[in-house]
């Protein structure tokens, strides 16, 4: 089992839609995209955000941009001005996902 730090192969951006956050993750190259396409599943992301994301995680593929988009429901403490979080709009969640280490064979 080999481990790869997501931050070494990808970048991204995150934002809000109501109480859901979206995280777009973009691989730096095709090889990186193959890795995230295979290993960065909705389940892996959901587990990574345990205690932060309390809803389902949806994954969408954008191979044209070497990117994956994740929508994390029930994540921003109510969203908008309801949320008491410092990061009520999920601006730092893309960086939080880049903390992940992927296990690849």
């Amino acid at each position: 089992m080999k481990k790869i730090k997501l931050i070494e192969i990808a970048h991204g951006r995150s934002g809000d839609k109501g109480d859901a956050a979206n995280i777009g993750i973009i691989a730096y190259n095709e090889e990186g995209y193959k890795i995230i396409e295979k290993h960065l599943t909705a389940e892996v992301v959901k587990k990574h955000f345990e205690g932060i994301c309390f809803g389902k995680v949806e994954r969408y593929e954008l191979p044209n941009l070497k990117a994956l988009n994740f929508v994390l429901h029930n994540t921003l403490g109510g969203g908008g001005t309801v949320s008491l979080k410092l990061d009520a709009q999920g601006k730092t969640l893309a960086a939080a996902l880049l903390r992940l280490e992927l296990e690849i064979e």
Binding site: H11, G18, G24, Y28, G51, L65, G77, G80, K85
Partner: protein, 455 residues
Amino acid sequence: MKEKIRIASGQGFWGDLINAPYNQVFGGEIDYLVMDYLAEVTMSILQKQKSKNPQLGYARDIPELMKSTLPECKKRNIKILTNGGGVNPVACANSVLEVAKQLNLNQLKVAVVLGDDIKDRIDELINLGAELKNMDTGEHISKIKDKILSANVYFGAFPIVEALQQDADIVITGRTTDTGLTLAPMIYEFGWKKNDYNLLAAGTVAGHILECGAQASGGNFLGDWKSIPNFAEIGFPIAEAYPSGEVIISKHKNTGGKVSFETVAEQLVYEIGDPKNYITPDCIADFTTIILDDLGDDRVRVYNVKGYPETEFFKVSCSYFDGYSSSATLTYSWPEALTKAKYADEILRKRLQNLNLNFDEIRTEFIGYNACHGPLSKQLDEDDINEIVLRVAVRSKDYNSVERFGKEIAPLILTGPPSVTGFAGGRPKPSEVVAYWPALISKELVHHQVKIYEV
């Protein structure tokens, strides 16, 4: 027909760099200046301002900006498109006309798009069969009807096109989609039709790239961000659009920032859901068909976008009053900074409990440790951290509970753990919580009007 047009993004939100629109106008050739001022929270703030003064309710940066840019725009026939009219586009237009008079400009046509504000039509629309169900929860609008602060339909590009066809120099709208501002001049200049879905989608994608200002040209870039040159003088993005739907994203020469595959790609994935179904009032764009071609020299070609027919609904955004909230911070220093902050939090919570106050939520974050990434934050040596900011926030339907919370912060300085500072701003006051109610409404129930004002 023009061979190409250059559309410049001047503002990514209300509060963005004040000089950005000025720099777009004076920094090089452009044909259109588009400015997005409206976030969801902005509409309720503007509605509140209008309820206090019927002459307010729009982005008041606009008249100020006009003083410095209007004569040049008029001279070079640069048209200005903005949704900064907020909940009072007519007052915004009047303020612009006032500036034009002061500058002795004449033959200036300002168009206003009306009809998006349905706050006073809710009962009428319900009677007409609109349910305005909450898109997330499915609940009926009647649940919040009496607490509504603002209610606006998102219009697309076509009302602006109508205004341009009437020779408007400036188009001021209320709640128009950010993407519609950029798409409209392409439809107008290139004669695109309502069923040219691929072209409408191409313009929509360009709009998505431009709508957050410099976020497409190096700002907030999470890749190799230190490689972005000259953030201080960052250039805002420009879409060079062609009749074929091809768009080249660039920025003015001699500005900071960077336009590359990576910076544009980051903006493309910003605040999207299903990329195959990017829904706007004008069309549905398929983001998985976009091809980005980095041409170097801060130019990225965007093409091959596929689009599909628009839906039969407009999106509606209602904001409503939902109680009060407040937050406060205190800073603790080494030694044992984090331990002190945790103690202070416990003391505060015990006191709030003893007072029998009523909160829907109390949230504690330790800035410098876990405020951004929560449980994902790296464990630190609690005894050795230099300093920690304790941030506590509360929310309640009960004003008095939130107000009392604000009075329990400063006492911690003399009645809690030591080496604490950073409480100079006075007692935090309760602020009103504004919640959102996203809904859909049949396009048949809402109609826009275009009005022209001139000097």
